[in-house]
């Protein structure tokens, strides 16, 4: 369990790092780190008789979240001519403060929600919720569409983390979650970014004004 907690603490650190770094390439590499850490989670969370299934799942997660998405992101970055530095709506120190506040909120929320005892290992729920909050902060507080995609990925990883205790009970939650990730990859990144870059010559969401009249 010590190793599991260390992995969860490392995940929380990766979330804080999302908010602190300024270059798109570093953010893309952070998604790889988060994917690799998440690949450990099904292995450490597995029940006693479930090792084969857990190993398969871990390999799938590694392939998709640890290697697939980061590679796609890096390829998109090199194809689009994007200013490598992110321009934030919310300053970096303030984002970090927001991240720590989100962690505090998640810790407090864990004591208030009525879980059945033993459902979540300690620190799993706060780590997952922090990932979701961090992802949403990235979506809200940064200019570029690519950062918003990364934020969505981070939030999605958080939801994945929330579902891991269910993995050993025969539900197909994790498999469905991984399928959703593949859907994200195809739909959001491939099509949308391609269209945005063709139509608008820029991926700065501040310049999207067709949503208002």
């Amino acid at each position: 369990m010590e190793l599991f907690e260390s992995v969860l603490v490392a995940l929380i650190c990766v979330n804080l790092a999302y908010l602190a770094f300024t270059r798109l390439r570093t953010l893309a590499r952070l998604t790889a780190v988060q994917g690799i850490l998440l690949a450990w989670v099904p292995l450490l969370c597995a029940g006693p008789g479930d090792h084969g299934h857990a190993l398969l799942l871990a390999l799938a997660v590694l392939a998709i979240k640890g290697i697939g998405f980061p590679w796609l992101l890096a390829r998109t970055l090199s194809r689009l001519e994007v200013n490598p530095v992110i321009e934030p709506y919310l300053g970096f120190n303030l984002s970090l403060v927001a991240g720590v506040a989100g962690l505090l909120f998640s810790l407090w929320l864990e004591t208030r929600l009525p879980f059945p005892p033993g459902l979540f290992p300690p620190l799993l729920f706060p780590a997952a919720l922090t990932s979701i909050f961090t992802g949403l902060t990235l979506v809200v507080a940064r200019h570029k569409a690519l950062t918003q995609v990364i934020g969505y990925l981070a939030a999605e990883n958080g939801i994945f983390l929330l579902g891991t205790p269910l993995s050993g009970q025969g539900s197909v939650w994790l498999e469905l979650s991984v399928l959703l990730d593949v859907f994200v990859a195809v739909f959001v990144m491939g099509i949308a970014l391609h269209h945005i870059s063709k139509t608008f010559e820029s991926i700065d969401v501040g310049r999207f004004c067709s949503l208002r009249d």
């Binding site: 505090l104 407090w108 004591t111």
Partner: protein, 664 residues
């Protein structure tokens, strides 16, 4: 108690004497003499009785409610200490600065009325600290609030002074309205006005809506003490007032706000949990906002005024810790928090009084307190410079002075709360300690700026280069206060025990663990004192060694190294705006700095102007528009006041008809 009465009588005599002798030089002697005598007698009364004694004196006065109930208990005596010490020092300093034939304003000699109101202020302050009845308290509060209006407007031929006095009056009375509401609600619920009776009634639970009463007390006393967001009058009033008045206001009068909050907490009985946390949060917000805005100022007196806001925030933090400790049963936190609050108020009075009096000497010598006009004054005014540095060292909370002891006590109170049950209280306490550290760091920066830019370096203007040294009478109060500060540094554990007496008298505290916690804190202060002694001893040893080495090897005097730049001037030294530029890059919004750069367009512009100002953002964006709306509404209502007599008679007739119809 008798000596206390004698001091009140002496204040009255001084006031009346000054008023009678208006227009003559003697007014400038009788007024301060009365204030000085009254303060010394008051000091004797504070020190002659043991600290934990309480005495009461009641006299019915024929008004429908209330009596003249005066009493001295440990808290009153401790809060009276700054009043008396600063009263004596400021009286002498004011006599020195107002002395001489040049003090004529608008053709009249204002000194008589000025000293009248000064003595009335001291009288009001003494009565506020001693009042034991709600009506008596309110009357004394009003006396204490009204007198500074006349004191601030001594130089009212200047527009800023008139505006500042008006802002002070409005703020004081808005606070007083909340206090009247507070005591009126108390009286309506319980039917009595004496403090003891009110406390008993509150403990028996006869108070509906205790939280509303707490909020009223916090607003009313907070407006006087200068808690955010009601602090906006402080940075206007203190620079406009003469320095001895600013010292008195900053050192003694705003402590009356903290004293009032103390009494209100005593009266309200058992506290709801959120009260303590609200006080803690408000105190820290006030402290951080105050010191950041102090850092941004370019006028010494405004900087000192914002620093007073910061220190009152720390006192509020102490009160909050006391409440939280009392409510969670943590006697250590309660005792140390309350004692720390009182200790901090006492320290602040001494340091801030000294700083304001030094600023007054600077104003007298140079004619300006703006840092852009000063510089190098430490060589022209050596005593003033040394005293200012001592005061700055103390108020930044650095060892070996007692300001550090006060902050250490508050930190000990916070540390004893690290193992409170629950995640959020613990995180709150850790955040409070980190915020206290941040406040200390910024206070160091702000006072390094004030002391360094004003007294060190080269003079930036000819007026600073020709500053006239201060006279002996003006220096006497500075040396007196400096002596008090050094004594407090040497006897810090004793001062803590004294402050602890007030904490022990607070209702709801279990005396035995509280006493033990205070004793332990005094021991800790003694160990810290050993280290401070070590610092002093080591400094002296190193200085001695240095002087021996330099006499052996020789010293040469040259100009400051200029890195090859051949045309240095005193204006290229770092100034008020540039000193805080690194901090302003990160924290411009909380500091309230606004900068405007006007430069000719294109490359190599010929002209450029950079303006860095630090107006109070809260006043600029919230209070001024609010009062403008109120003024517009009142102007709109003037339509009723048209001057036609027959319509006025119509108003009277309509009112009579309405009343008849309603009652019958």
């Amino acid at each position: 108690m008798e000596l206390f009465g004698v001091s009140l009588v002496l204040y009255l005599l001084g006031a009346l004497g000054a008023l009678c002798l208006t227009g003559r030089e003697a007014a400038n002697r009788v007024g301060p003499a009365g204030a000085l005598a009254g303060s010394l007698v008051g000091l004797a009364s504070v020190f002659s009785t043991p600290a934990s004694a309480a005495s009461l004196f009641v006299l019915p006065w024929g008004l429908p409610i209330g009596d003249l109930a005066l009493g001295l208990d440990p808290a009153s005596r401790l809060f009276l200490l700054p009043v008396y010490v600063l009263g004596a020092a400021c009286a002498v300093s004011g006599a020195a600065s107002l002395g001489g034939p040049h003090e004529e304003h608008c053709g009249q000699d204002r000194r008589g009325p000025h000293w009248f109101f000064f003595n009335v202020l001291l009288l009001g302050l003494s009565l506020v600290m001693a009042a034991r009845d709600a009506v008596c308290f309110l009357v004394a509060w009003e006396i204490m609030s009204l007198a500074p209006f006349f004191l601030i407007s001594l130089h009212d031929d200047e527009v800023e002074v008139r505006e500042a006095a008006w802002i002070y009056l409005v703020a004081a009375h808005l606070g007083a309205v909340c206090l009247i509401a507070f005591f009126a609600a108390f009286w309506a619920a319980t039917g009595v006005t004496g403090f003891d009776a009110l406390a008993i009634a509150a403990r028996q639970g006869q108070l509906p809506g205790a939280s509303l009463l707490f909020f009223l007390a916090l607003t009313g006393f907070g407006a006087k003490a200068g808690f955010v967001p009601f602090h906006v009058w402080l940075p206007e009033a203190h620079p406009a007032a003469p320095s001895h008045v600013s010292a008195m206001l900053s050192g003694a009068m705003i402590s009356a706000g903290v004293y009032g909050l103390w009494r209100a907490l005593e009266l309200l009985g058992p506290a709801a949990p959120w009260w303590g946390w609200a006080l803690l949060g408000l105190g820290l917000a006030t402290a951080l906002s105050g010191i950041l805005q102090a850092l941004a100022q370019g006028n010494i007196k405004r900087l000192l005024a914002y620093s007073s806001v910061e220190n009152m925030g720390l006192a509020c933090l102490g009160l909050g810790l006391g409440c939280i400790g009392r409510q969670t049963g943590n006697e250590t936190m309660a005792a140390l928090g309350l004692a720390g609050a009182v200790f901090h108020v006492l320290n602040h009075a001494a340091f801030k009084g000294l700083l304001f009096l030094c600023a007054g000497e600077v104003l007298h010598a140079v004619g300006s307190v703006r840092l852009a006009h000063l510089g190098g004054l430490g060589k022209r005014l050596p005593v003033v410079g040394a005293c200012f540095t001592l005061g700055a060292l103390g108020i930044a909370g650095l060892p070996p002075l007692s300001g550090f002891a006060g902050e250490l006590v508050l930190a000990l109170a916070i540390l004893s709360g690290i193992d409170l049950p629950g995640l959020l209280p613990r995180v709150g306490m850790s955040g409070a300690l980190a915020a206290l550290a941040a406040v200390g760091g910024f206070a160091l920066a702000a006072f390094a700026k004030a002391a360094g830019l004003a007294f060190l370096g080269e003079p930036r203007t000819p007026a600073a280069a020709n500053a006239a040294p201060a006279g002996r009478l003006a220096l006497a109060p500075l040396l007196f206060l400096a002596g008090c500060i050094l004594a407090a540094a040497a006897f810090a554990p004793m001062l803590l025990s004294l402050a602890g007496q007030a904490a022990l008298a607070f209702p709801g505290l279990d005396p035995a663990p509280a006493r033990a916690a205070l004793a332990q804190a005094a021991d800790i202060l003694q160990s810290a004192g050993l280290v401070c002694l070590g610092i002093v001893a080591l400094t002296l040893a190193v200085l001695f060694l240095r002087s021996r080495l330099l006499t052996a090897h020789g010293v040469r005097r040259e100009g400051t190294w200029g890195c090859g730049y051949t045309a240095p001037s005193s204006r290229i030294q770092y100034g008020a705006g540039s000193f805080v530029e690194p901090t302003a890059k990160i924290l411009r919004l909380p500091m309230g700095l606004s900068r405007r750069l006007d430069m000719d367009a294109g490359y190599f512009p010929a002209r450029g102007t950079l303006t860095v100002t630090s107006p109070d953002q809260l006043k600029l964006r919230f209070f001024t528009p609010l009062f403008e709306v109120v003024a517009r509404t009142c102007d709109a209502l003037k339509v009723v006041q048209h001057g036609r007599v027959h319509l006025y008679i119509l108003y009277v007739l309509a009112t009579v008809v309405l009343l008849l119809a309603w009652k019958l």
